[in-house]
Symmetry: C2
Subunit: 442 residues, 2 copies
């Protein structure tokens, strides 16, 4: 550790156990190990020095952005060094002409978006955590978000990366151009690899032109299936929504209890949609709705979407939450919702579901009593049923949060043995000493 | 070879040298080796049998779609078996609800698009070769096309793959859902790998909703720079063109000499743009144009775009062609065009340039005299200058055609040594015996 301290500028290495403990977990219940230190990197050189040292001494390194992850990916392992990128916050370049930005890993997602907006552009990927998560964490998990129904996930906005490998070598992948096929797609390989193949220090990212005036529709339904059907109809009609969110009764009720949104007793689901152009077509497609509010003013829209933003904090008022993340083909969204309701009933577990309905991406939130260190067995049993159902319906275990630690148990059910072998082969190639976020993601 | 014949249904293995020779090259001058046979696979089993046999006997295998490649990727190597996927032409599934299709590798690109159109959908990636190239070849090269300025390249339409590895193991990558982050991005790794990591037998592909009525603008300019500036303006204004093509004087003249399109003496460039909505805004943005034609009727539009489709065959009437493919950040498109003109002048070579202007992707076509077996040294010298210029301007060696054989010489200039080492490591992992398209792409 003395060697590491000497290799870094003063103040970048923390070892006080009280302090390092606060860097040991993400937003999950995954039980962390005890790190031997935390590096607060401020430059690529700091990252290089840390990884060279770690390679020389075979010390595990857990890369960390803001620690907002929901899969346990940034959980410390015993004796590791946590390598925080949170202080690498420079936007190195923003080119309105080429509609790209070069941002360091620690830039907060919403800050990049704000910087782009000064030029009439935006950074499209917007996880609900955009105000607190980092670009590096978004890339490492290939984060989704509300707007990805129109603009795609983080991968779709990434043109190239600057990465430090486990042995401290620096490489750049990809390019500044919108197209390019030179060599294998290393950019794609690092994205979503949850810190197991390399540490991302910066990225060249696509910006998007701001859309024209948006209109917003919020519709209430007497059944979740009706709401899911309306979501399908909006997609099928080609409305190209840039947001299409579904909330179930449990979620709505928790919001209503907190903020009094005047929830009707018969309302089982709410759909919120946003698109360019007038709201009429989307509203008309909410055929079975019991109530529809439309808006073309920004302020009203913000109020309608504000309801969606309350979903997580409102649910957290009910107890502790295991936030899950499955994704199914759009056409079976109603079936998946039924399967979640069945699992909740069978195991006597409260599940509040919100969905990025336009992507078939559901977040069932399992609520359980406070004071427990981790979700009780019936929650895991219900979650197991939900994961299995997603796979049976042609879906995937994780639409956007990643595998981390929490989903490793189910991983091979989805990928099969040949893919698993390739995953481990790739891991060995990039990280032969297994020091980069060992035990995660694969 | 007897063993291979026995492992395949009758008629799938060709060994007559006159016949096999016609499977030995793509559309380039790359000098082919002599294959020992050609397998016309009709099923995954045929591919598995071929690769098992090839692994057992360490025989190189050159995967092949339609052989329309422009990088030498499908060029036979001495003693290889050419593995043609062209007979695997089944569309296994087409789901209008989920807007996906599962197509075998040999499906002709335009056939998939046609099948989708029966359901009001389209398959967006449309290389100019769409009528003759295969889905497998498109995936293996990550093909672009005219529409990718709006819809992205082949990678952006691929959700998952069925792949046979070098040792004959079959795997599926990716998923049927629009989002998903389980495991490393193997789908992305196989796409663009030019047959060096695995043989793609089928793919799950996204379909897109058909756009509303399109309007078309064709504008003539007195300088290429003016035309490039108009292209930038159309993108910057947010017109979201689904096609934005630029042709230089040499190209236009070759078309005019053949089909008499009434080319004015002062016209140095033509821009063709297509987008949803009325043509007025795009037309107005062609500020410096000497002539502008607009159209909202399908037939007129087809005539305008027909001019662009004549570009390659018209140039081929002038001599033999080396079709090149560089891509630069959009803002330096005019500079890149100047650099191409300088290279042409300096080396006394005729270069006809067309560009997917919206992507910064240029195809300088080097014309040289008939009868030669390959491009003469001055053509390569000019090409070298063009490649170097693209890299200097922050661009890439190949926007969509791939590295194949022809660009290997320049590859490391773009990627650098660390990436090169990773490329070779990945190759060794997937193909330890180096039997899959050896010597290509990396
Ligand atoms: C309220 C809330 C809402 C959320 N909403 C969404 C949502 O809508 N969509 C969504 O996708 N996620 C969502 N998340 C999950 C989380 O915010 C995302 O996964 C986010 O991308 C994590 O970013 P982070 O900077 O916090 O990364 P961390 O949690 O610090 O790390 C996440 C993973 O990435 C690795 N990592 C981090 N930085 C780097 C780097 N520079 N190089 C290499 N590896 C690195 C870590 O090792 C870990 O495996 C939400 C979380 C919360 C708390
Ligand atoms: C007139 C013309 C216009 C063109 N326009 C464009 C354009 O606009 N955009 C563009 O991107 N390209 C264009 N091309 C180039 C070419 O058509 C594309 O590269 C196309 O994707 C090749 O498809 P193919 O089936 O002919 O593949 P092939 O030429 O047979 O093979 C191409 C490469 O892919 C590999 N391969 C083929 N099938 C498989 C498989 N199933 N599994 C693994 N590897 C495989 C081969 O080994 C080779 O390396 C054009 C070519 C011509 C002749």
């Amino acid at each position: 550790m003395k060697e590491l301290a000497a290799a870094l500028p003063h103040g970048r290495l923390l070892t006080d156990p009280d302090v390092t403990a606060s860097y040991a977990r993400d937003r999950t219940f995954a039980r962390p190990g005890i790190p031997r230190g935390v590096v607060l990197a401020e430059s690529v050189d700091d990252v290089v020095a840390t990884l060279r040292w770690a390679s020389a001494h075979r010390v595990p390194v857990v890369p960390r952005g803001a620690g907002t992850g929901l899969a346990g990916g940034a959980t410390a392992v015993d004796g590791c060094v946590v390598l925080s990128l949170a202080r690498m916050t420079r936007i190195r370049e923003l080119s309105p002409e080429d509609e790209i930005a070069v941002a360091e890993a620690g830039v907060i997602t919403a800050d990049l978006d704000r910087a782009a907006r000064e030029h009439g552009l935006m950074y499209a990927p917007d996880p609900s955590s955009a105000g607190i998560s980092t670009i590096g964490g978004n890339l490492a998990t290939n984060a989704g978000g509300l707007r990805c129904v129109k603009y795609g996930v983080t991968r779709d906005s990434a043109l190239g990366l600057e990465v430090v490998l486990a042995d401290g070598q620096v490489l750049t992948t990809g390019r500044r151009t919108v197209k390019g096929v030179t060599g294998y797609d290393l950019t794609g390989l690092f994205i979503g690899s949850e810190g197991t193949l390399g540490v991302i220090t910066a990225a060249t990212l696509r910006l998007q032109r701001l859309p024209g005036p948006l209109s917003t529709v919020a519709a209430e339904f007497a059944s979740l299936r009706d709401a899911a059907a309306a979501a399908s109809a909006i997609i099928a009609a080609g409305c190209r929504p840039s947001l299409l969110e579904l909330m179930d009764r449990t979620t709505l009720q928790s919001i209503d209890e907190w903020k009094n949104i005047g929830l009707e007793p018969g309302t089982q689901a709410m759909l919120i949609a946003q698109a360019e152009g007038p709201p009429d077509e989307m509203a008309a497609l909410c055929r079975a709705a019991t109530f529809v509010a439309t808006s073309s003013s920004e302020q009203e829209a913000a109020e309608l979407i504000g309801i969606r933003r309350l979903a997580y904090p409102a649910t957290e008022r009910l107890g502790q939450c295991l936030v899950e993340d499955v994704c199914v083909p759009r056409s079976v969204l109603p079936d998946m919702i039924s399967r979640i309701e069945e699992a909740a009933a069978r195991h006597g577990v409260m599940i509040a579901t919100i969905a990025h309905a336009g992507d078939g991406n559901l977040h069932p939130v399992f609520v359980f009593e406070r004071g427990l260190d981790e979700p009780p067995p019936e929650v895991w049993a219900a979650a197991d049923e939900v994961f299995t159902a997603a796979l049976e319906l042609g879906g995937t275990l994780t639409g956007e949060h990643g595998v981390g630690l929490l989903k490793k148990r189910w991983l091979e059910l989805e990928t099969g043995p040949v893919v698993t072998e390739l995953h481990h082969g790739i891991k060995r190639l990039f990280d032969p000493l297994n020091i980069l976020n060992p035990g995660k993601a694969i």
